[in-house]
Symmetry: C2
Amino acid sequence: MSKKTTIKDIAKKTSLSTTTVSRVLNGKSEKYRIAKTSQEIIEAAALELNYVANHFAANLKSGKSNTIGLIIPSLSNPFFANIASKINSEVRKFGYTTIIADSDENVEIEKTELQQFVSRNIEGLIIIPCGKEMEHIEQVYQKGLPMVLLDRYFEGIEIPFVSTDNFEGAFMAANLLINHGHNSILCIQGVIDSTPNKMRIKGFKQAMKDAGIDDFKVVGDAFSSENGYLETKMLLQNKIRPTAIFTLSNTIAMGCLKALKEENIRIPQDISLITFDDHLYLDYLATPITSVAQPVEIICKLAMKNLMSALSNKEEKTIKQVILKPEIKYRESVSRINIIV
Amino acid sequence: MSKKTTIKDIAKKTSLSTTTVSRVLNGKSEKYRIAKTSQEIIEAAALELNYVANHFAANLKSGKSNTIGLIIPSLSNPFFANIASKINSEVRKFGYTTIIADSDENVEIEKTELQQFVSRNIEGLIIIPCGKEMEHIEQVYQKGLPMVLLDRYFEGIEIPFVSTDNFEGAFMAANLLINHGHNSILCIQGVIDSTPNKMRIKGFKQAMKDAGIDDFKVVGDAFSSENGYLETKMLLQNKIRPTAIFTLSNTIAMGCLKALKEENIRIPQDISLITFDDHLYLDYLATPITSVAQPVEIICKLAMKNLMSALSNKEEKTIKQVILKPEIKYRESVSRINIIV
DNA sequence: CTGAAAGCGCTAACAG
DNA sequence: CTGTTAGCGCTTTCAG
């Protein structure tokens, strides 16, 4: 690898000091009233020598990395990939660069990634925690690093977050099922310890309780299609089946669908399905699936706004925890049942 | 933000030199035969003071960033998000960290991201170019930075790449259509200048030519669902319709599906559909869609192997350009037509 | 087994 | 308008 050009090289070539070169190359010519001619020769030299600033050296001195870190649980989950994409373009708008890390739903990896980020002097952090632990995150937050949690958050601590009203979403979904006459419902959940999951379960159970329904079950333990597949497969071993399934994510629904298809169970004739998280593809399925949609676009924008304000006035640690309302997307996957008494 | 602990702090606290501290903290105790006791007090102190290495300072001196850069055209495209996810975990296996950038299918952003990466002293680069230009990429390559192109590449230059035989894939798809009796075919393409797109078009046209079919058309200009949607909408304005559509990506197919659904056109009764790129969801659609599947897993693994070998022996610039065979996933979206003569 | 000293490339006082 | 000087925090000779 050919050695890189440094400002020193440029200084030598132009017979100016490194300071002047640095100033010109950082757009501070105005501020220091540097001669037009100097500017020109420096810029010409930089171009000719193919100069690329050494970000590390600059950061080491200035302490500004101009970088935002984003940790998400899984890029292969379209729900998160979509968020990553949106955050990325938002961040760019503010003149920062994003570096993305994928924790693979694994706390240990999450911890490593977090350390990586800290050691890279990132200026702000957006995290969708994998949700199993929070100490490591809180510790970094307490050090004063601006941070926003997305989607998954932790209760009872002051880290800012932007999320959806998961209780409400699940409550709405369960009630939709109930109102359609369903009274035997299976709920396939995601990561058990994660706040969104807990809230969803709470909302689900509340609806059951309010309607006086006892015949329900909660199974599963991951926001993955494997989980959805396995749980559905197991369910179908029994002769007695619920009338409806409520999956707590997109990905779980996908696995559930696969199992249902393998067993030739039709939606919604044989079983009804409703899921948390919306996605384009849900509209094109054999039976379009009714979903609880989160306002992803808004979540991302708010998170960024939140983070950027923390970035500009660091002292004032305003606690900003926002919870947005979800919305039901009615499609055709929930059938109306006539209750036989 | 509370000041960070440095090795200096640890040195002071332990009454050892920064050199020794650095060595212990970098796992070089063995190599320098450092006393067990010294190791222990240093490690204890590091833990207590909550030490996190400053990556920039380390890199500035050593020149090793331990980082691989990945540039992809769009994280919101599941095909690429999936690749990002796989690359990310492969890279971790080799003890490196990935930083991901999303060019948003925009060459200008791609150029900026590339500069960002270079200035961050990344050690290797995996790029899925947005495909419109290549000079900036080649320039970085010529400087000696290990690099592999994925999926999209450029012909006639020596940068290593791993891709699919796009000609063959499109040729196979077109022939499948032809063998099913289709003789009026619309092809909706992606980014026109990109090599995969060009090769696919070539394969498609070759098949048409071989079969003596004149009634075909190529439209569109982006690997996006909007493109698929718009082109299909426009198509449906005409009274005369093709018997089959061949979309050159997943995302295009999605948009096409949306338009078809809006106009109540059934697949495959009214029109047949085949698409490049496989995806789980294609199996669960109203009509499961036949696709040309790329061996994504293998592509990612090979790319990494390629990159890692370049990383270990930099002198030997072996040119490694590999093209893998795609595979047709037969599903139900292509109907058999009886030709009326 | 340990340490002193010399920078990596850049920026930021301070000083003209 | 420009330059000198002093580091940022770490690693790496070189020298015990």
